[in-house]
Every structure is written in structure tokens, then in C-alpha cells.
């Protein structure tokens, strides 16, 4: 340790650099500007962010935009619309009908939380809300499938309509699973990817079954 004994910062070595983290310095200005801007701008910015994420889900590329700026507006809208569309099913006996609104809501949110916890416990590096965001947004294809199913059921409920509904739901289920896997798979440890993907598969399978089993009164 002889060399260390006489280390000292001599006056002729200039110490340079920035200690402060530059991120914080800009936000006060941004806060002031969002207070001053018209309300329409604020709303449109959020709507555009949500819309951009919808587009990302429909054409999944490995972009990090969905992960970086997470928001839960999209999942909320999708979950509420899906739960609303699953209402009005056969309710001749309360015990045997389709899922109630609260049940759909709880299944989607509780299921997403459990899957996120599962992936984090297995050693995933994604954050909690980012994962919720991705799983919620990837319900979009299934919501589209539900819409299509209700329209097809308006036309009739025979065998042909069932086959059409089956094909549509299966296709959208595949799309949902592939989209969410494309976003989430990279953040998992490589030898546990299947362990993380399987619960996502189960989650969308359950939602697809609820959509397919929907029969109007």
C-alpha cells in the first residue's frame, strides 16, 4: 500500500464534471407549460399516445415505445368495453349465465397482476406497470374479436356463425399471444422463457373462451 499512502488531490489537477442529474431541471418548466396549454392539447396528447400504442399492438414490432411510456388508459378502456360487450348473455338462471361485469374485470386485472408477479419472480427485468400495460394493450385483438362475434350473432346463431366466430376468435387469440410475447419475451432470462409465456397463453385462452362461449339471450 506504499503507493496509496501519498495520494492526494493536488491543486494542479482540475476536477471537472457534472454532479447534478440533468433530468430534474427540465420538469418544472414542463409542468408550467402543461398548465398553460389548452385542455384540448393535453387530452389529445394522451389520446395520441394511447392510439400509437394501439397501432403498435396491431403491428407488433420489437419497439420499446410501448414499454418505455407505459400507461393504463388503454387497458382500462379495453377491459371496460370487453366486459360491457360480454353482458347481455343468456341470463335465464343467474347461476348459469356468462361472466358478470365484475368477474370479467377481476379476471383481466387479477390475471395480468398474477402473470406480472410470475415473470418478476422468475427473474424478469421488466417493471410491474410496464408488464401490466403490455398485457392490457394486447387484449385489443380479442376486443375486436368480441365486436365481430356480436355482429355475427346479430345475423344468426347457427353452425355457420359458430364456425366464423371460432375462426375469428382463434386468429385473434393467436395475435394477442404473439403480440404480448414479442414485447415481453426479451426481458426474461433465456432459459425460462417458456415458463413466462405459458401463463400469458393461458390468460388469453381464458378470455377467448369467454368470448366464444357468449350466447345472446
Amino acid at each position: 500500500f506504499a503507493g496509496l499512502a501519498d495520494v492526494s488531490i493536488s491543486e494542479d489537477i482540475p476536477v471537472e464534471g457534472e454532479i447534478t442529474v440533468p433530468v430534474g431541471s427540465h420538469s418544472p418548466e414542463e409542468d408550467f407549460s402543461t398548465l398553460d396549454e389548452p385542455v384540448r392539447d393535453t387530452i389529445m396528447r394522451d389520446l395520441k399516445a394511447v392510439g400509437k400504442k394501439f397501432v403498435h399492438v396491431m403491428y407488433p414490432k420489437k419497439s420499446s415505445a410501448l414499454l418505455r411510456d407505459w400507461d393504463l388508459w388503454g387497458p382500462l378502456v379495453l377491459c371496460v368495453s370487453l366486459a360491457l360487450m360480454l353482458q347481455g348473455g343468456s341470463a335465464d338462471s343467474k347461476d348459469d349465465g356468462g361472466p358478470q361485469f365484475a368477474e370479467v374485470f377481476v379476471i383481466i386485472w387479477f390475471g395480468a397482476v398474477v402473470i406480472t408477479l410470475n415473470s418478476k419472480l422468475l427473474g424478469g427485468t421488466i417493471s410491474f406497470f410496464q408488464s401490466l400495460c403490455v398485457l392490457g394493450y394486447c387484449v385489443l385483438p380479442l376486443t375486436v374479436a368480441m365486436l365481430v362475434c356480436r355482429l355475427v350473432l346479430l345475423a344468426g346463431s347457427g353452425t355457420i356463425s359458430f364456425i366464423i366466430r371460432l375462426i375469428v376468435v382463434v386468429a385473434m387469440f393467436g395475435w394477442s399471444t404473439l403480440a404480448s410475447t414479442a414485447f415481453l419475451a426479451d426481458s426474461q432470462p433465456p432459459n425460462r422463457k417458456a415458463l413466462v409465456v405459458y401463463p400469458i397463453f393461458l390468460f388469453y385462452f381464458v378470455i377467448s373462451w369467454m368470448i366464444l362461449a357468449f350466447t345472446p339471450q
Binding site: 343468456s90 338462471s93 356468462g98 422468475l122 432459459n191 401463463p199
Partner: protein, 303 residues
Amino acid sequence: MATVDDLKFEEFDDAANLLAANPDATTISIDEPVEIPKNQHSRRQEPGREEDDELLGTFHSDKTELLAGQKKSAPFWTFEYYQTFFDVDTYQVLDRIKGSVFPVPGKNFVRLYIRSNPDLYGPFWICATLVFAIAVSGNLSNFLIHLGKPTYHYVPEFRKVSIAATTIFAYAWLVPLALWGFLMWRNSKVMNIVSYSFLEIVCVYGYSLFIYIPTAILWIIPEKVVRWVLLMFSLCISGSVLVMTFWPAVRDDNRRIALATVGTVVLLHALLSVGCLAYFFDAPELDFPAPIIPITPAHNGTT
């Protein structure tokens, strides 16, 4: 008597400088404890584990006991504590599932596959899959059985999902708890060589339920004989996994208590499967009368 000079603190040179001065001196190097050899140990062991386990038996389990003791050191309110229960890779989960579906007589599931690394991933997701498999298959089979009958209107029967979930999760977690408590109590009276931790018992029960997933899907076939054959087959397989696990733990005990314990384990397992079959799947032979238009007095009057 040491002089003051002798007691003066001596600065030691850097190890490299000292060694350069005196190349023949013996050296000791202390490395940081490395995490990797433990994982390598368990991974290297996996391919040849059947032979090793047979021969080494207790020695190997002692070693893994010691290593396992190093793992779960985080306090139970931290996230890392629960991460230790998910420390499995895909191939390990698949191996455990394979071991529960193809039980080898004489090989203990816990010693062979779990090896002091019980995981909660398998039991939880197998139970969840089983819940939905039973609910969906039951719904589908009822739909197919009653298809074509004019009085039948398809209902999704969503309530049954919550009933199935309650039943299966209660079975997979409360029965191991009761069994573990019972084994601990017997252990205090009779010194058993083999004893299991609570999580190992949960693990065995969870993985033993896996065979019921394909069974539930095959129960869609609306033939009573087929269903009962499937039930017997899966009961034998998962029952044998449980019996081979728990027999060594009670074998040293009083003969009657040992038999009663193992018998209760199998009985509860049978009750679960028969109950699921009876409740979620309508009996196919309970045929409703074919759609004949009932003879009304008006019809009789016209002949």
C-alpha cells in the same frame, strides 16, 4: 522483551512486490465466494442423476441440503425470499412433470426431482390450468351431450369456474398442510429418516395433479366406460406418485398408522377426481327422451 521498535506497526508492501522480492514464498489467495459453482453443480448433476441418486442416496441429499441451506437466507418480507421458490428453469419443470406422469416404481419423486429445490411455479400453474381445463371441458362436454335437443339452451356455466378454483386450490394447499402437520407430529414421536418440508409436500401434490389435465380434456368423450377407465388410470398414476413419496416417511411408524395415512392420501385423491367427474360432467347415459311430440288429447281426437 520486545523493544519499542519491534512493536512499531509495519507497512506491508503490495503482495505482488513482496512476491517479486521473494519468489519462493508460499502464498494463499482468498477468492470471493462465487455463486456459479452451486448452479453448475445442480445442472451437471441432472443428466446422470438417476444412477447417482441410487448409489449415493443420503450422501447426495446431505450435500444438497447443505447447499439449499445457503439459498433461503432472505427474510420473509422481502421479494427475494419468494424468488427462491421460483428458481427453476424450463427443463427442470418439464422434468418434474415427466416424473409425475411416468412414475418409476421405487423412485421417490421428491428425492429424485425436487432435490431440495421445491418450486411454487409448478403447483400454482398446474392447479390454475386444471381449474380451467375442468371448467371448459365440462362445459364443452355438456354442450355436446345435449346438442340437438330442442329444449336445450347452451349456457356458459361460468359459476362453475369459481367452484372448481376453490376446490382444486383448497385441495392442493390445505391437504398438504394437514399432511405436513401430521407428519411433523409423528416425527416427534417416532424418529423417521425421511421427512419433508411443507413446500416439498405442496410440490408433490401440485405436480401429481398434472395427469388430470389431459384426463379432463379426454373426459369430453361422452362415454361412461371411457370416463371411468380414464379416471382409474389417472388415479393410479398420480396415486402411485403420492404413495411412493409418502410411504418412506411413515414406514418406520406403527404399521396401522402408516397404512391409515397412505390410505387417507389415496382416498382424498380419489374423492377429488370422482367429485370433479360427477359435478362438472353431466352423465351421458342420462338420456333425455328423444324429441317426440307428446300426444295431446287434441291429436287423439283427430284420428
